[in-house]
């Protein structure tokens, strides 16, 4: 059998002091969760007409129990975070150290900052990179950091723009040799493959790498501090920060930004309380130790076809589990500020992202039992699966409850079941009793688990004097109320989608891998109708049938039915930046970064808003720019390297493409044709020279542009 390099006798850094504490804490969590779940399940069975005696009711109680355990885990996580933050000192915080020890960073240590991108908005990516670069320069330690733009873009126009923007940024910042660009021809294994490709080619140059998302921004002091922590604690394999979502203007994004900033720190501190060194990697805004990452974290392809086979989509969870399997610890630095990301701007964008994540998390079903993983990471895999599985279970719970309501309404009750008869004569009747007090008690306890964390967060933020950063106590209170209302309204809509995603994934339907929309453009009515129309009709039919058969049950689930019926306008209105800006003017859903905007975020905003000087110069973009602009053309040729020898058939086909491009212009070429020409240095040279050699072009010519018509 192949020997495991991670096998127990070779694992690094075992028996660390925190592991026993983590074990005790996790046992405590189970001791709190399980009794409350059993109590709630028992209470649920008493609420049901047959006291959980039928198969249908048993299924309802079982599903309810799992859901209750799930939300109670979230609740106790926030409570743990509350006490951690209230105390203010956490001896297990990975960043906890004396200042003198912190400052020691070995002279040869270099850190790569990676920006894996795939058809992203180029200007926004460069703005984030630029802000991070300048922030690092301000710390005086920028020389120890290199930036790498790792492109997987398959859109030829984006490809050219990325190259040009990189060159422009290098020129502007004088950062040649500090900022690098590399584009893969084949996008194997998507983002994880992109990072792995970097590691194979350039990883040996670096001790650490910080992985960014396309919309990530981090401050220089935070990056320097992360390197210091990694230097001090040589047993840490991955150090994850808790990124704060910022920068969006649509209503839904602002509400989520507010929720993440108000309650997120409690949740992150709570997660740290349970996980300690068994934490998770979230795929970005984290620093990784390159050597063990290369040794242990390369991901295999799962056997079988997608969606449950093939490339591992949610690679980050698996990478942290593998890093931990090799003995390196994974920490969540919940107390490190200066780490930012952006939220999806609309509900539909969020759901599009969720579909990808759902498929990735469902793949973990096949990894839960992988040999050698730590139990904590198996639990984290299950936790990830439950992030979407819970929606499926909630939907199942509602469906089963509806069936129960139908059955109870449409069947004649048996007042004298066999058990109550003596010698075939009924002695006493059994009345179907339903006591709403128990149901209300159950609903209240569930409500407490869901909403108490928000009140806890409010109280502690006021107690710590941070209310001002959220617009003041009154604004914050109103924002929490608004957030509760909106999240309650959107929860059933999300539930329906997530349930569909889980079902589709388990049934073998694959999802696409597109880039994320990062614009505040809003959702059109047509788009909303197309995506939410089915859910709305389903909700209306559900409500109407219950109104006919069992109106009492309808009153209990009316919030869900109403939300589903209103899904279309909810999706449209929450995606509007105008409503988000109105909320901002009213002082609602404010986050600390809006009250006191960090310098880095200001830079990002300004740079994103300013058009590129180079692009403005030629008034061309994409493929046409690579043909006309001498700088873009020369840069592109340089990036391509040596020309390849081609067969005469290919050469002839490409020559005909060149002729077509010259005759009909860049817009007449398909993406595939543009890419084929862009890959061929000889074709690009020929196109460039022939376009410039054309006589002064009249208006309306396919290549007519400012520089060629003047």
């Amino acid at each position: 059998m192949k020997s495991n390099s991670w096998s127990e006798h070779k694992r690094e850094f075992l028996n660390e002091p925190w592991s026993k504490v983590a074990g005790r804490r996790r046992r405590l969590l189970l001791c709190i969760m399980l009794p409350s779940t059993f109590t709630a399940s028992a209470l649920m069975s008493t609420v049901l007409p047959h006291r959980g005696a039928t198969v249908l009711e048993m299924a309802i109680v079982l599903v309810f129990g799992i859901l209750f355990a799930w939300i109670s885990m979230g609740f106790w996580t926030v409570v743990a975070g509350f006490f951690t933050l209230l105390r203010g000192v956490d001896r297990f915080t990975v960043t906890f150290a004396r200042q003198k020890e912190d400052d020691r960073v070995r002279a040869h240590v270099r850190t790569a900052i990676l920006f894996p991108v795939c058809n992203e908005e180029v200007r926004r990516v460069m703005a984030g990179l630029r802000a991070t670069y300048l922030s690092l320069e301000r710390t005086g330690q920028g020389a120890n950091f290199h930036f790498h733009i790792l492109s997987d873009s398959n859109d030829p126009d984006v490809w050219v723009e990325e190259e040009a923007a990189w060159a422009e940024l290098c020129r502007e910042l004088g950062a040649s040799g500090r900022i690098f660009y590399r584009r893969r021809r084949v996008n194997l294994k998507r983002k994880s493959g992109n990072v792995a490709d970097f590691c194979r080619r350039y990883g040996a140059h670096y001790t650490y790498m910080v992985v960014f998302d396309a919309d990530s921004v981090m401050t220089g002091p935070t990056l320097v501090r992360m390197v210091q922590v990694m230097e001090r604690r040589r047993n840490v394999g991955i150090l994850q920060t808790a990124p704060a979502p910022v920068g969006r203007e649509t209503l839904i994004a602002r509400v989520q930004q507010f929720a993440a900033r108000a309650y997120g720190p409690f949740f992150a501190a709570g997660l740290h309380y349970w996980h300690l060194g068994d934490s998770q990697f979230w795929g970005h805004n984290a620093i990784l130790r390159v050597k063990p990452f290369m040794q242990h974290c390369c991901l295999p392809r799962l056997p079988g076809p997608p969606p449950l086979g093939g490339d591992i989509l949610s690679h980050d969870f698996v990478e942290s589990a593998l890093m931990r399997r090799a003995g390196w610890s994974v920490w969540l630095a919940y107390d490190l500020p200066g780490s930012y990301e952006e939220m999806p701007p609309t509900l539909l964008d969020e759901l599009k992202r969720d579909r990808r994540w759902c498929q990735g998390n469902m793949q973990h079903l096949r990894l839960v039992f992988t040999k050698g993983l730590f139990p904590a990471h198996r639990a984290l895999f299950l936790n990830g699966i439950m992030s979407y599985g819970s929606a499926f279970l909630w939907f199942s719970f509602l469906a089963l409850s509806t069936v129960e309501a139908f059955v109870e309404a449409m069947t004649v009750p048996t007042y004298f079941p066999a058990a109550t008869k003596v010698l075939f004569f009924p002695v006493w009747p059994v009345w179907p009793v339903w006591d709403p007090r128990w149901a209300k008690l159950l609903l209240t306890s569930t409500g407490i688990l869901l909403f108490l964390p928000k009140i806890i967060a409010y109280v502690l933020l006021l107690f710590k004097g941070r209310g001002r950063l959220f617009g003041g106590p009154l604004s914050m209170f109103l924002s929490i109320l608004g957030e509760v209302v909106l999240s309650t309204l959107l929860a059933p809509v999300r539930m329906l989608f997530h349930a569909r995603f889980v079902f589709a994934t388990l049934m073998g339907f694959q999802v696409g891998w597109g880039s994320q929309n990062r614009d505040d453009t809003g959702t059109t009515w047509l788009d909303a109708l197309r995506h939410h129309g089915f859910g709305s009709i389903f909700g209306l039919l559900w409500g109407a049938s219950l109104a006919l058969v069992n109106p009492t049950f309808l009153s209990w689930i009316s919030p869900i039915v109403v939300s589903l019926a209103l899904a279309v306008p909810l999706s449209v209105y929450t995606s509007r930046p105008s409503l988000g800006l109105l909320a901002r003017r009213l002082g609602l859903f404010m986050v600390p970064e809006e009250i006191d905007k960090p310098w880095e975020l200001q830079e990002v905003e300004e740079y994103s808003a300013t058009p590129s000087a180079d692009a403005h110069r030629v008034e061309l973009s994409g493929f046409a720019r690579a043909v006309v602009d001498p700088q873009a053309n020369a840069l592109h040729l340089r990036m391509l390297g040596r020309p390849r020898s081609l067969s005469p058939a290919i050469r002839q086909r490409r020559q005909s493409l060149v002729d077509k491009a010259l005759e009909k212009g860049a817009s007449a070429l398909s993406k595939r044709e543009k890419k084929e020409l862009l890959y061929d240095p000889a074709c690009m040279v020929q196109l460039h020279q022939r376009v410039w050699a054309m006589a002064p072009l009249p208006e309306g010519h396919p290549w007519a542009c400012k520089v060629l018509t003047d």
């Binding site: 790498h148 950062a175 350039y202 040996a204 700088q631 040279v685 020279q689 050699a693």
Partner: protein, 166 residues
């Protein structure tokens, strides 16, 4: 890069090719208006090129001198001017640097996703070997035969003394 360009335009490295259509005023001075379009195109190109101002000026001077010497005018001049320009154009300056590749391996470690299969394989080695050696039969089939025998025994189809079938 320059080599590519020269090769692609079908010229030999070295001196630029001579014009195919000599002008009537070859060797003489052309009126400025005849060279205007070519001049404007060369200037437009150089404005966009990544060169220092001195290099741009020098290149423009070289191109125009040569063009004037060849005595072309009109549309042919534009084409010829750009041909000359691409010949005289020095390599673009100030490209961003690329990091040298330092290649290393990164291969997936073993991920036994179903350890119970390996466990079963490990723990059924002896029965498998025994069934193969003794009965020349797969051990699953031996198990199957045993299960069938037990079932028949329980069902009363086989005499427990194994001497009679009912």
């Amino acid at each position: 890069m320059d080599t590519n360009r020269t090769a692609a335009s079908g010229q030999r490295p070295g001196e630029p090719a001579t014009a195919e259509t000599p002008s009537a005023t070859a060797g003489g001075l052309l009126p400025e208006s005849a060279m205007d379009p070519a001049l404007r195109r060369v200037m437009a190109y150089l404005r966009l090129a990544a060169l220092t101002e001195a290099r741009k000026l020098h290149t423009a001077e070289e191109v125009l001198e040569r063009l004037e010497a060849e005595g072309l005018g009109g549309e042919a001049a534009v084409s010829r001017a750009l041909e000359l320009l691409h010949h005289y154009l020095p390599p673009a300056e100030a490209f961003p640097a690329c990091l040298p590749v330092l290649r290393r391996h990164m291969t997936p470690e073993e991920m036994d996703r179903r350890p119970w299969i390996a466990w079963l394989d490990r723990h059924t080695l002896w029965p498998r070997l025994a069934s193969t050696l003794l009965f020349n039969t797969r051990w699953e089939q031996v198990l199957q035969a045993l299960a069938l025998t037990l079932f028949c025994l329980a069902d009363g189809r086989i005499d427990p003394r194994f001497d009679l079938f009912l």
